[in-house]
């Protein structure tokens, strides 16, 4: 199997595995580790992790696909996550999603052909007071309007 982690990643995994009485308990942190290095969890990583934590590949795939924060496919350089829960919806999230969809020519869950943007709709980001909210990478963009989103996307595209 060709998959592996960087040397630091491997060291971190060893540390994680030794932390739990049952290796299987390390499955979530192990998947996080994979995703932080690769941007997503590739197919080969599933069997690789399974072997290390002592679960079947099917079991690890079940875990990796249950939690929506794990990406099983490569995503774009910028991941636009628009909240669609109650407060954000009241404050116009739906229109925002429609606008971004049209602007980028992709539906939620899809990535632009140039690999620049992936659009997702997500549940409450815990920032209802500043709805509507969009998370890009680790940053929150709050009190959004169509204009603000346009400007943001243009800036991200210019930065490459």
């Amino acid at each position: 199997m060709s998959f592996s982690l960087s040397e630091e990643g491997l060291a971190e995994l060893d540390r994680l595995l030794s932390r739990y009485p049952d290796r299987a308990a390390a499955v979530l942190p192990a998947l996080h580790l994979v995703q932080s290095e690769h941007g997503h969890v590739p197919d080969e990583a599933i069997a690789w992790v399974a072997e290390r934590v002592g679960l079947s590949p099917a079991h690890v795939e079940g875990v990796a696909t249950f939690y929506t924060l794990f990406e099983r496919r490569p995503r774009g350089r910028h991941h636009l996550q628009i909240c669609r829960n109650l407060s954000c919806s009241l404050m116009g999230a739906e229109a925002l999603v429609a606008h971004v969809s049209a602007k980028l020519g992709i539906r939620p869950g899809e990535t632009t052909p140039d690999g620049m943007f992936t659009l997702s709709v997500v549940e409450c980001l815990g920032s209802c007071g500043t709805a509507p909210v969009m998370q890009v990478g680790d940053a929150y963009h709050e009190n959004l309007t169509v204009e603000a989103v346009d400007a943001l996307i243009d800036r991200l595209r210019a930065e490459g």
């Binding site: 599933i46 079947s56 099917a58 079991h59 795939e61």
Partner: protein
């Protein structure tokens, strides 16, 4: 022993019994999908909800333990409503493709829709979520994820019984889907059980699919002939064709399971059957009626004894035969022919495969029975084979189709040394290609009898239907032939033979078909 009432019926059950099992004891069926007698409790389908007095909410009967003084009701409006609701949820994304589903007729969804559902679908057809259909899931299992109700029986089976863990739920919510990791399909020797335990048409058997609608099938209690374990099974047949085996629960032998090799043994009742008696004259097969053939065979055997001595005749038995048949074979050889040349030879293990669960290395159902009845095994067989190869045997009676570990060529070479060979057998094979008289016998679903398994358990199998073609019951053949040699036997049917056997053979003394029952019992040792 807690005492409780269910729908007003009093029942007392051992400590730890669930409401669902307690209800079963008094004949009250509580609907269930995820619950399985031989798997851990999951409590996820919510079909088994019942009302328990003093509990504020409905309880799942599969996971609630019966306690003293409990008052349970399964027939109230609240229960009906909840269960109907649970079923409606389970059916929301179901494709309702019963007409092209092989589970139809034995499907939990159909059954409970008729008994507790009968609701109108409130979900727009176009909103149904589609999932992968007709996937090759490996090991002869076909997976239709759309029909799955996520009961997790298959997941638990692969975790708790085989430990191979190939199936899992992927994704979540209404996108949850049962599947295997790409490139890692189901791969174990017990996969056929998955099609049995899946309550719906999500996991079906590639072998059985679309061959017969299940409502045509009739069933006979039987024992697998695939190895010495003697798994308890049901044989399902229709119009003289055997279609499949299903395991029958016996906690002393196979619990609720059987292996995939044994499951395919049913084919032997259908394929390459010997269906009419024939003789081989100068290498040419000629069909002959029983009435004409039997006197000839008897004549040849007694001639051989008279002219050349009983030492020149030999009988080779098979541990594929029942105790009843072996008992007659022994008398036939020792008393009627008067020969010492009697041995059984085993079907050589096809791949010698065994495991630490059910699969036994001896690929015969009744080696233990043959030994208990005093029929010598492999060593004696080699002695007999030696005599045949030296041309000392003038007449040979062979039951079955194999001679130990002899290759096909070796068998033919050996048999060419005997001037007269009679075969009593069910399937065509190397022996029937060499025998001078072939007497076709009933398959294991066309006759009844008993076997003794590897643990010394005496178990009974029953005939499903009459022998195919002109084949006859082996007991009938033996009695016919024996009487022509002066036996004076009046046996008719296996039970009458068993009565005689249980009188004279110590390990079986005092036993009756009644006392064997459908789950068997240990022989005396």
């Amino acid at each position: 022993m807690p005492n409780l009432t269910i729908n007003g019926v009093a029942v007392s059950v051992p400590e730890g019994t669930t409401i669902l099992s307690a209800a079963k004891q008094v004949g009250i069926h509580i609907p269930h999908y995820c619950y399985h007698t031989h798997l851990s409790v999951a409590g996820n389908c919510r079909m088994c909800q019942v009302e328990v007095e003093k509990f504020p909410k409905l309880q799942t009967a599969c996971s609630t333990v019966a306690t003293e003084g409990m008052v349970v009701r399964t027939d109230t409006e609240a229960v009906r409503k909840a269960v109907r609701g649970a079923l409606e949820f389970l059916l929301i994304h179901h494709p309702i493709d019963c007409p092209i589903c092989d589970q139809a007729g034995e499907c939990g969804l159909q059954d409970y829709y008729m008994t507790v559902g009968l609701h109108k679908s409130r979900y727009p057809l176009g909103d149904k979520i589609h999932k992968k259909k007709v996937q090759d899931a490996g090991s002869g299992i076909v997976l239709d994820a759309e029909r799955c109700i996520l009961c997790s029986r298959c997941v638990r089976f692969l975790e708790e019984v085989t430990g191979t863990r190939e199936l899992q739920f992927f994704r979540r919510g209404d996108h949850s889907e049962i599947s295997f990791f790409p490139g890692r399909p189901i791969d174990n020797h017990y996969a056929g059980n998955l099609a049995d335990i899946c309550p719906v048409g999500a996991l079906t058997s590639r072998d059985f699919r679309f061959r017969c609608r299940v409502w045509f099938l009739k069933s006979a209690e039987s024992i697998c002939t695939g190895c010495a374990r003697g798994c308890n099974i049901e044989a399902h047949f229709h119009e003289g064709v055997l279609y499949r085996y299903k395991p029958r629960v016996n906690d002393a032998v196979n619990r609720a399971w059987m292996c995939d090799f044994g499951r395919m043994e049913y084919r032997k009742a259908n394929e390459a059957r010997l269906l009419a008696p024939f003789v081989r004259e100068n290498g040419v097969e000629k069909e002959m009626p029983w009435g004409a053939l039997m006197p000839q065979v008897a004549q040849r055997l007694s001639d051989a004894v008279r002219t050349h001595g009983a030492d020149t005749v030999a009988v080779i038995a098979s541990p594929q035969l029942s105790n009843e048949e072996l008992f007659l074979v022994r008398h036939f050889a020792s008393d009627l022919l008067g020969t010492m040349n009697l041995a059984f030879t085993r079907r050589a293990p096809e791949d010698g495969f065994s495991d630490d669960f059910l699969i036994h290395p001896d690929k015969n159902p009744n080696s233990a029975g043959a030994r208990l009845l005093g029929i010598p095994g492999e060593e004696a067989f080699h002695a007999v084979a030696g005599r045949i190869s030296r041309g000392e045997i003038r007449a040979l009676v062979i039951f079955g189709n194999v001679l130990g570990a002899f290759s096909e060529k070796g068998t033919l070479e050996l048999l060419s040394k005997a001037p007269f060979i009679v075969q009593v057998g069910t399937n065509e094979g190397v022996v029937s290609r060499a025998a001078h008289a072939v007497l076709p016998s009933a398959s294991f679903v066309e006759r009844g009898g008993t076997f003794v398994n590897c643990d010394g358990r005496l178990q009974r199998f029953r005939a499903g239907f009459a022998p195919r073609g002109k084949a006859r019951n082996t007991i009938e053949i033996l009695v016919d032939l024996g009487n022509r040699l002066g036996a004076g036997w009046s046996f008719s049917g296996e039970e009458s033979v068993f009565r005689a056997l249980s009188r004279s053979e110590a390990p079986f003394r005092g036993m009756t078909y009644g006392s064997i029952g459908s789950l068997g019992r240990e022989v005396k040792r």
